[in-house]
């Protein structure tokens, strides 16, 4: 079994970091993983995306035309990538910044005001953690407690962030319920 998750949004929304945390958690769970970023000038304030491939066997092509799931943090990302998602996948829509919906009936659309929740928790910069947590809670792609641990490890040494991110994980989980 192989599944792929595309994270997409503006540069600066923590897109690459969410992907990395998920890849880390999947690796800890014993899966083969690959994390593939978009890189170059487009990283500087434009759209950013990364793809996480999770598999129970060695990963062949790291190039995926149709990912299983999508976490869209802004409108251009949703418009660009939603049509590519495989039927049956989860599409998370950051409704704080995206006024539209994915327009698909064959996927599990998860509406989460991630940026709004993050803002209420004290920083829009943790919107990516809210979204990631909501996505994992819904898709069950990895064990949720493992995700919680990996988020903590990611912010190891930055104690002030840990509490905020712990709250973000919890609020994300609730938002997916």
């Amino acid at each position: 079994m192989q599944s792929e998750v595309m994270f997409a949004g503006f540069g600066g929304q923590g897109i690459l970091a969410s992907g990395k945390i998920l890849a880390h958690a999947a690796m800890e769970a014993g899966y083969e993983v690959a994390w593939i970023p978009s890189y170059g000038p487009e990283m500087r304030g434009g759209t950013a995306y990364c793809l996480v491939v999770i598999s129970d066997r060695p990963i062949g092509s790291p190039v995926i035309k149709n990912p299983q799931h999508l976490v869209a943090m802004n409108r251009p990302s949703l418009e660009k990538f939603a049509p590519m998602v495989k039927p049956g996948g989860v599409i998370l829509v950051n409704s704080s910044l995206i006024p539209i919906r994915c327009g698909r009936t064959d996927v599990d659309e998860l509406i989460v005001p991630a940026t709004g929740i993050a803002n209420d928790l004290g920083s829009v910069r943790i919107a990516n953690i809210v979204a990631l947590s909501a996505f994992v809670a819904r898709s069950k792609i990895v064990d949720f407690e493992l995700l919680r641990r990996c988020v903590n490890e990611e912010f190891h040494g930055k104690e002030s962030f840990i509490e905020m991110n712990t709250n973000a994980v919890e609020q994300g989980r609730k938002a997916a319920a």
Partner: protein, 355 residues
């Protein structure tokens, strides 16, 4: 050691340290700059040395000077930077010094683009710099393999007193995968007292050493080149590395592909197998020396109708594949080089078109 999740570029930097190389010169260029960023932090921790040179031209010669006085050295760059280093690479090969170059290829020619490509196959395997020299070239297909090849590159460079190149592509550099750093690949630098300009006192000798590539006498230069050739011939005998995939059964088509492109082909082969179509693959891990016999043997298998070289370039490796097959089977080519890596579906379409 436990697996860690690392970006290819960072893993390459760490692999060099684990291999026992504590000297690194580099110049920033996308998509390999993370190596320099990583090692600028990491080298001080391990008592190593990093210097950002003023250009790739200078970096090439910093490597030369350091290697010539006996130090284990390496650098990383991407295509246009390797072009600039090619002058030094020719000198280093001519002067028979060990050094390791990593090329995280981007699209070309000229400024090209920054996305993955395999357009530097010719540059790496046929020269790039001037004169009759060869590089030992290894092409990793995963971050783990990049780590292992980097670690292997140092003893090989020292064994042959010749530059070794790791030919990756933007994806190998930018992708994160779980990696392990094998302890058994750590090696000690060889004793270089016989030739290195490390100071007569260092080696307790009264005889000075000279590192040079200048031979004005035609016979001496010819002899020198014959000696270099004997080393390249030895590489052909002892260093060929490749992987055969789905090549035991009766396949109709044989793919030859390397690096990132070979992973896509592997997935395509698995998908075709589910549909009852058998396709085999030879994946060269060393591009020089090239797995000539393995490709010939796989191509002339009775079931095999055609051979195809699939590469992220406009038909470079296919010339070597064609040479190996010796006219016994038609040799086709498929490739793309703008930066979009072909998908497995695309590869399947191409393979079906051959039948």
């Amino acid at each position: 050691m436990a697996k860690v999740l690392m970006k290819g570029n960072e893993a390459i930097g760490e692999a060099a340290i684990r291999a026992g190389c504590l000297n690194y010169f580099a110049y920033p260029i996308t998509p390999q700059s993370e190596v320099a960023e990583y090692l600028s932090k990491r080298m001080p921790d391990v008592g190593g040395m990093f210097l950002q040179g003023e250009s790739e031209v200078a970096v090439g010669y910093m490597l030369f000077g350091a290697s010539a006085c006996g130090a284990r050295v390496f650098t990383t760059s991407s295509s246009p930077g390797i072009s600039l280093m090619s002058e030094a690479i020719s000198y280093i090969a001519g002067a028979q010094c060990p050094a390791v170059f990593v090329n995280i290829i981007r699209g070309g020619p000229g400024l090209g683009g920054i996305l993955p490509s395999q357009g530097d196959y010719f540059q790496a395997t046929k020269g790039g710099g001037h004169g009759d020299y060869r590089l030992l070239v290894m092409a990793p297909a995963s971050v783990q393999e990049a780590v292992e090849m980097v670690m292997l590159a140092f003893p090989l460079a020292e064994k042959y007193r010749n530059p070794v190149m790791i030919l990756g592509d933007g994806l190998i550099g930018q992708m994160m995968e779980p990696v392990e750093f094998p302890d058994h690949l750590r090696t000690e630098p060889t004793n270089k007292d016989a030739w290195a300009t490390n100071g007569m006192d260092t080696r307790n000798s009264k005889k000075s050493n000279l590192v040079k590539s200048l031979y004005l006498d035609p016979k001496m230069l010819n002899d020198h080149n014959l000696h270099l050739k004997s080393k390249y011939d030895q590489m052909k005998r002892e260093e060929i590395r490749y992987e055969a995939y789905n090549a035991d059964g009766d396949y109709k088509i044989l793919i030859v592909s390397y690096g990132t492109m070979s992973r896509v082909c592997r997935t395509a082969i698995d998908m075709m197998k589910e549909d009852g179509l058998e396709v085999g693959m030879i994946r060269p891990k060393t591009l020089f020396p090239f797995p000539e016999k393995a490709i010939y043997d796989a191509a002339v298998k009775e079931s095999c109708q055609k051979v195809i070289s699939i590469e992220m370039s406009m038909g470079q490796m296919v010339e070597d594949v064609d040479r190996c097959v010796k006219g016994r089977r038609p040799v086709e080519w498929y490739g793309k080089c703008g930066g979009d890596v072909p998908t497995p579906e695309e590869v399947i379409g191409v393979i079906r078109g051959l039948l």
